[in-house]
Subunit: 221 residues, 2 copies
DNA sequence: CAGCAAGTGGAGAAGTGATTCCACTTGTCT
DNA sequence: AGACAAGTGGAATCACTTCTCCACTTGCTG
């Protein structure tokens, strides 16, 4: 569904469309290897097009990022659906957390995408929100089984993504499996048996509010 | 101890020494607020000196960083000593983890310092290693009480630092307490009761090997 | 197959940050 | 006080990116 070009990209000339595809492919690789801040020229070169072509098609970096990761964001939402479909919600929950963290480990760019908001990309953010809503359902189902601790909230999943991102960013090849251990530790602490008092979570609004923005206001640091 | 200038900085002229101090003070603030990659010019301006002065005194960024954080690294090691002195090793262990993570939350620059190795700063790294060795002792004592799970290894503490760094990097004011919840979750999963099988940790060598290097080979990304 | 809008590549303008150079100032020592 | 090594600031240079402009192709349509 939703495959034919919408108003935005009303039939590009075939060669232009082909270049667009090449850019997307190149960016996928470059972002995955170097992260989201990779120089645009690197993408253009890999795609075998001029920089102008890249900029003409994707005026801002965010346009490129959201186009590149649209499918991964969809895959991300799909992982939640799969977890929800699991007859054992706790098992589904765990698989879901693990799979998503695996996706981060597989793609440094995606890791960043998950902890950054792109206010200008409505469709993209809608997908993220859809996944979030479904994940919240999964949380409730998992709690109902008595396996997931009662005070777990959706914000905690985002926290996991951020923590995992930190481990992935700090470890290179030599210890690249470290993230698995982190996730295993965390999942164990999410079990009802482990439950002991926790500091209160931020509200969902605060978390969203808090996520690094993208739009030029980037890292005004 | 070790207060008089060693061979390296054999008596600077008083004005030069004063400027050196100003630079250090300025850098402390700037790194804390903006992270380690803050422009050198920002430090110089804040210190009220010319860039040349900064570069003359600290030829590389790492020289400045290690000078700035020498005391924090010492404080870091001290926190471990305090933990070790606690009559209840498990309590000492928990306080130690919490306090160090608090130090990260308080200083974005220090957060980075903890997950990066500075091969050129021997004294600095020596302090880090000393802390690591002492922390390993603390781990053993805590295990002996039966509170800390048996499969906990020193590398896990580094993992905590990296994870915490990720949360801190991704959250701004709005959800700035999120890290506390992460740490609480993790500590709960470090208790012996919570213990369930984990993926194997990387070896200490792998972790060190893996930590992002600093020396120009920085982020060749 | 001509005509032209669509599309292209790459040079260059502009911004940012690191690092060097050097003419000028200032402690310090006698 | 005079001499001079030590120290200083900032302009200049270099490296790197983003982003624009424009002269030159190339699909597409009649």
């Amino acid at each position: 569904m939703l495959q034919k070009p919408s108003a935005v990209d009303r039939d590009l000339r075939v060669d232009a469309e082909r270049n667009r595809g090449r850019i997307l492919d190149a960016a996928r690789v470059v972002f995955s290897e170097q992260g989201l801040q990779a120089p645009m020229i690197a993408v253009a070169r890999r795609a075998g097009v001029g920089i102008a072509t890249l900029f003409r098609r994707f005026p801002t970096r965010d346009d490129l990022i959201t186009a590149v990761f649209a499918d991964k964001m969809q895959a991300y939402a799909h992982v939640v659906e799969v977890g929800l479909a699991d007859p054992d919600p706790w098992h589904g929950f765990c698989r879901c957390v693990e799979t998503i963290c695996q996706m981060q480990a597989d793609d440094r760019g995606f890791t960043d995408v998950l902890t950054v908001v792109f206010p200008s990309a409505a469709a993209f953010e809608a997908e993220r929100n859809r996944a979030a809503a479904r994940f919240t359902e999964l949380i409730e189902k998992a709690k109902a089984t008595g396996k997931l601790r009662d005070d777990f909230v959706h914000q905690d999943m985002i926290m996991v993504l951020m923590a995992n991102a930190g481990v992935l960013a700090a470890t290179t090849e030599a210890a690249q499996e470290t993230w698995r251990r982190l996730v295993a530790y965390l999942i164990q602490s999410f079990t009802a048996e482990a439950a002991a008092p926790l500091p209160p979570p931020a509200t969902p609004e605060e978390v969203t509010e808090s996520l690094v923005r993208r739009s030029g206001a980037q890292a005004e640091a």
